[in-house]
Symmetry: C2
Subunit: 813 residues, 2 copies
């Protein structure tokens, strides 16, 4: 294991000792102890909260080796001093590392360094130094990806704190909230928030079901902040309806009628809607009238439930027990999302029942809200932030969409999220419209939702794939300037579902917005990262939210790196950066010579290259059902590959040194096609035989992460290197409709067999290219995984001397 | 979904109504209601335990359709009668089935029949009939594999019962214990049981750590029975030590010196060992001195913790915090396993600390114990049962070993469990000797354990593979006559880890033992089945354990089928049988003609067939690392397959009708080999293109099974058909050392190139052969997945006219 730990708050010895007293690790009786080893024994004794007898402790101590030859009991019996060898021998074992396997008892300091664990330099401790070293050890992460204090938490350390008075809660240690709230006593309420919407046009404002979990202490006056997850999936999904709505992608690309559109022609302007009167309130109650068994939870939220945060889930308009129609990303959806926050901050009504007139306030919260969640959930957090709604202090948006056009389209083309060919806004709406799962409700709402679906189908316009008002309404990037919430963004560099452009564009736009923003780029696909062994993401978020929502001055804003990136060449390796590509003007520039990418200043020949897109029917059918085979054949350098003549592949020099490629690779060139329409697709590859990280974290230990004490659990995982070497890795992709050479909203004429200049940004990257590896550029047309697949007789020619590739880079440190 | 439900206790109307009153579904106020629809509404109101207001209920009712046109509210407003159409329309929705997708509101009875849900015939209900239908509905399983009462449980129905006095607990409904125990209040104790053993020869009896979870009610006098899981894995495993001990299997088979052994020569006789004096007791305490955070639990046990059962885990000798040395299946291990039961029944001491003298009794139990668990865990349950220890009322042994020779050996050959080539008793001991994970303990015990490992290595004797005293000690089948516990056995017909012979031999031996025994054979590999959608295994076990451990007269012994078998030809299909092969004398008998299996009365030619075992080095190396490729090539009928000449394959007629093949296929023949040693392996195949069940259940819904209320969860799964058709399926296997033609303990001489008669039982089967499918018999030598793989120049000849195959069968119903 290699530890990557960012959420340790530098703390001086005096403060550390005060904190140890606060969490009762240093007790009053310790002052009476005469020697440092006696104090050490007392600290160790506190480290076995499950043991309630001296005899029991003796046995636990005997399980630990203090030196290569003596167990802890034996060593303590004669110890005069505590040195750092013994301290870290025992410390490593407390952290779950195995002598002989993970470290050598003869040199624990070497392992501390190798695993990247923080340590103090003292070779022999006085009492203060011991306390300080102990403090640091408690804040050090072990083999299970939890700090020692967290490990002790899962073994009951904080149980005695449950009974403490409210004024002692929450409890912070090293800048992070601790699990002193009894999750067995959580209060679970359902309320119905009234949104300023009537999306189902029934003459009543839409009510939205909200599930709340809050600490029992709120019932006796403690005000807590809220983690709010807006998840359209939360009340169930209608898989069958989604499947039934799925689009056939084996349809031809067609010519668009050239237009003169400018952005002004497609810009969306909000239309004020007639809003029914608010529901009248006859009574205000403090008590909910409905509860729930098991919510669909995010384990990061579960973790915070033990630490003094409430959690709120809402599935929004169109979901079970709520009003409205699922709209996939429109303005109403954003309005419904922030309605919950407006209720939490006292600006809207909620009701105790779905059809009642008894209002209920969020009297238990301090009014500070963070939004959490991944994918559609993170998207709604982003949407909410772009309204600048009061009370939304921060969002942690993971794998979030920043513009729905960038999710379902690309440069004038229909481009599906990976593994969801044929999906579109209507498909997603049908899937998350969970009201359809309740037959009684579905019976009366179905005609209205069918009309809504038809409107989505029309608005999304799969025929042209162009950017229009429908998409402009669903572009949150327009409103980034409104953002007042601080932001943590998390995204996978291998996320081909929500593609990296979504996070990159938001990050780029945020550069000028006066909020604190942090970015974490990992090597995964569309995943959560709060259960990784090697990265203290959960602790970072604890630091962040303790700061944001409880106002704790823990320096979260400076301790967390601005841009934290997982290295793609090694396991468990993360690097902090000041920025993504915004802090560099360096770049690699290539032109093309025959099949090579050559430096841009290299003289190149005049030459054109051609490829045909059409495949034999049988081969095409094979690839339709085996997309992996298609990609393998497309990228094969073997001349016998059936796709060898259906794409162009150019390879660069072997990198003379490690390169850090960052930002948006840019391809320009000139192309002709034998019809009045056409598309180009691009891939950038890292060629070089290597064992590469798998894009899904692998299970290390099932249910190993207890998120509190006798509370919910998560699996411990991490990225590992694949067992086999691979010859290359696809780094990024891009797609272009040849009629949208300049703007996605502007269709230009294309004459058959004439050359046209094009320029396209590929999806942004943060890629470590190893010495000796080569960059590859692949130019092709139909992307079986993402574009429409008409298997048409389209032939493409490129002027090779015009082709250029620009990749921003920064110095490799 | 197809429902397979065996644990419904037939209950008459009067008893059903009494039970509904007991669980407060029928309340006193219901008697005052005037009409059947009013009563119906009252029952429905109880079905939303999360809703605490009339207005809230109105909304939930509006979510349900009563007829094709009316929701439940509207329908109730005018209803005069309740008919079975409405009742099952609503009932199906309460069970999670979707109108339009899973059933048609115009004909719910059709769906009830198709899904195999129990229902009553009345077309219009009077009050009594309504109650009775409701009672049945509560006991009917829904889409999540839980009954309606269980679904209500997960939504809080039984929370008000938590506060009931002890004399009202446990609470049984339809013969099964209900979740009226608050799992948030469980008491968790650690004690150390003194076993009558000193396996580490330190002059002290071995103490064994035991983790106990018991309902809070035990603290106020309730006596509860115990589910005891003995799991050597429970305190962690030493993977690295296991790997380091793994044996190389790429070694030659060698000739054994012929002997004159009879069973008497290898019979193990227990040696009374000198036992140190018992630890002195200075005090007896009622209170434990140690607790724990998270035990490694079996979800079936978790389920029972909510229902009035205590759960006890012990990892046994050689595990963390216990004494002793891991011995893999020997007599000491059995002694240590039952020592826990002896403590639970007041016959042994336990201590509050590992080295202390304060004893603690199991004062909270009624002294009735069941053992649970799979694999090694079920094996120890079997071992314990064969001692006849008092207090062990029943075991539920899943995928259990009944003789360790049948796990690691076969007919004189080293034969590995599937996917664990090279494993043996010493490897397993090294892996489960978790004391090695505690460096302080490991430091002092390692030399003794190394000696123990060496003794295991010697005793297991991989050189000959013969049955000897070492294996005889580890053969629980010898002691089946001692069994006093009733038994439920569960085994996978595709379990090639613990092969089916283990359960079959135990089942067969139990035929004469006067205990109740039940057998469940599923189509999985080495898995648990308590989370399947289509089978009420958990309910069956509830029925069983309520009967066995609480003495409830619920007819479990007759309601559960004697032999329950999952059909291999269809999803979610289970059949009850009276017995396995013991109730049939029918059989299919084949001889061989060229490449065909022909009926035994068919005249066959004189003819010999030959194959060579040795492969080209490169091919051999390929198969070593790709065992799937090896099996595919071995079974390929394509003459170009590289293994075509390395095995013989015979195929039968196409089955004229469906056949039910049961028990132990038997192969006889005569064979010659070009050395003085050799082996034969056999496979039986079902040839016929079909989509077949996958051997691992597939995820249906993550965390969908709440095992109580706000308690632990399990994933919902079931077997599905593979997406692709397969041409055949391997049904069973067998292996034979040609020097062990008669007994595994008796090595006979083998002269090169002379023909010898052999006879071998293959692993037992319960296989549904479809009409038109063919039986295949494959004869080969080295089994890359299981035997040693010397790749020796061995050539085998078989007299085809001597070859015969006998397969017991029974009538297909």
């Amino acid at each position: 294991m290699k530890n990557n730990q960012f959420a340790i708050v530098p703390t001086d010895s005096e403060a550390a000792i005060a904190e140890l007293k606060k969490i009762q690790f240093i007790t009053a009786t310790m002052a009476d102890l005469k020697t440092v080893p006696e104090v050490y024994r007392a600290l160790l004794a506190k480290s076995f909260p499950e043991v309630h007898s001296t005899a029991g402790l003796t046995h636990k101590f005997a399980n630990l080796m203090a030196t290569s030859q003596h167990n802890l009991n034996d060593w303590l019996a004669t110890a005069n001093v505590v040195n750092n060898q013994v301290f870290y021998n025992v410390g490593l074992q407390l952290l779950g590392f195995l002598p002989g396997q993970d470290f050598d008892l003869a040199d624990p300091l070497l392992a501390m360094r190798d695993i990247h664990l923080p340590m103090v330099g003292d070779s022999a401790f006085d009492r203060e130094a011991l306390y300080y070293a102990w403090y640091l050890l408690l804040n050090t992460r072990g083999v299970k990806g939890q700090t020692l204090i967290e490990n002790l938490t899962t073994r009951g350390y904080f149980v005695p704190f449950y009974q403490r008075p409210n004024q002692d809660k929450p409890l912070f240690f090293n800048g992070k909230a601790q699990a002193v709230f009894n999750t067995n006593e959580l209060i679970r309420d359902v309320v119905y928030v009234e949104a300023p919407l009537d999306t189902d046009h029934d003459g009543q404002r839409d009510l939205l079901k909200v599930e709340i979990l809050r600490p029992a202490e709120t019932a006796t006056g403690l005000k807590v902040p809220v983690l709010y997850t807006a998840s359209p999936y939360n009340q169930g999904i209608d898989d069958a309806a989604g499947k039934a709505t799925m689009h056939n992608v084996d349809v031809p690309l067609t010519a668009k009628t050239p237009d003169t559109n400018t952005y002004a022609d497609v810009e969306y302007h909000s239309q004020p809607a007639d809003l029914p009167a608010a529901r009248s309130v006859t009574q205000i109650s403090d008590a909910a009238e409905e509860t729930f068994g098991r919510e669909q939870s995010y384990t990061l939220n579960d973790y915070f439930l033990a630490r003094g945060f409430a959690v709120v889930y809402a599935a929004g308009i169109g979901s079970v027990d709520s009003d409205g129609l699922a709209p996939t990303g429109d303005e109403d959806e954003t309005t419904s999302t922030i309605a919950i926050i407006e209720w939490l901050t006292g600006k809207r009504h909620a009701f105790t029942t779905r059809d009642g007139d008894v209002a209920i306030n969020a009297w238990w919260t301090n009014g500070l809200v963070a939004m959490t969640g991944r994918s559609y959930l993170g998207t709604l957090a982003t949407a909410a932030a772009t309204t600048g709604v009061d009370g939304l202090k921060t969002i942690i948006s993971e794998a979030a969409i920043s513009s729905w056009y960038d999710y379902y389209r690309d440069n004038g083309l229909v481009v599906a999220p990976d593994t969801f060919q044929g999906e579109d806004t209507d498909v997603l709406a049908a899937e998350v419209f969970s009201r359809s799962l309740k037959a009684g409700d579905a019976h009366q709402i179905k005609p209205k939702f069918d009309a809504k679906l038809a409107a989505l189908t029309a608005g999304q316009d799969r025929t042209t794939g162009s950017y229009n008002q429908f998409w402009d309404e669903r572009n949150y990037l327009k409103n980034v300037a409104n953002i007042k919430a601080d932001i943590v963004m998390v995204h996978g560099l291998n996320d081909w579902n929500v593609k990296p452009r979504n996070v990159a564009n938001l990050w780029d736009k945020l550069q000028d917005v006066p909020v604190t923003k942090k970015l974490i780029l990992h090597q995964g696909q569309h995943i959560y990262i709060n259960n990784l062994q090697s990265l203290d993401f959960t602790d970072m978020m604890n630091l962040w939210l303790s700061h944001e929502l409880y106002g704790l001055d823990n320096h979260a804003e400076s301790l967390l790196p601005n841009v934290l990136v997982q290295d793609n060449t090694a396991t468990q390796t993360w690097h902090a950066h000041d920025n993504w590509w915004q802090d560099t003007d360096d770049a690699l520039d290539f032109k093309v010579q025959y099949k090579e990418l050559v430096p841009a200043d290299h003289p190149v020949d005049q030459r054109a290259a051609h490829f045909t897109d059409k495949l034999p029917d049988k081969l095409f059918d094979h690839y339709r059902t085996d997309l992996t085979a298609w990609q393998t054949d497309l990228l094969s350098e073997d001349k016998t590959s059936p796709l060898y003549d259906h794409r162009l592949l150019f390879k660069s020099w072997q990198a003379p040194s490690d390169q850090l490629l960052v930002g948006r690779p840019h391809v320009t060139g000139s192309v002709a096609v034998n019809q009045n329409f056409g598309m180009l697709s691009f891939m950038l590859l890292d060629f070089g035989s290597a064992k590469r990280l798998t894009v899904s974290p692998q299970l290390i230990a099932s249910k190993a992460l207890d998120l509190g004490y006798h509370w919910r659990e998560d699996d411990l995982k991490d990225f590992k290197l694949a067992a086999a070497t691979s010859p290359y890795k696809m780094i990024t992709k891009g797609h272009l409709n040849l009629q949208n050479r300049h703007e996605p909203w502007h269709a230009e004429a294309l004459k058959a067999n004439e050359f046209y200049d094009f320029a396209v940004d590929l999806q942004p990257i943060f890629h470590h290219l190893l010495t000796g590896h080569q960059i590859g550029l692949v130019v092709y047309a139909t992307d079986m995984k993402m574009t429409v697949r008409g298997n048409q007789d389209l032939q493409y020619s490129l002027q090779l001397n015009d082709l250029s590739l620009h990749i921003p880079m920064k110095p490799f440190e």
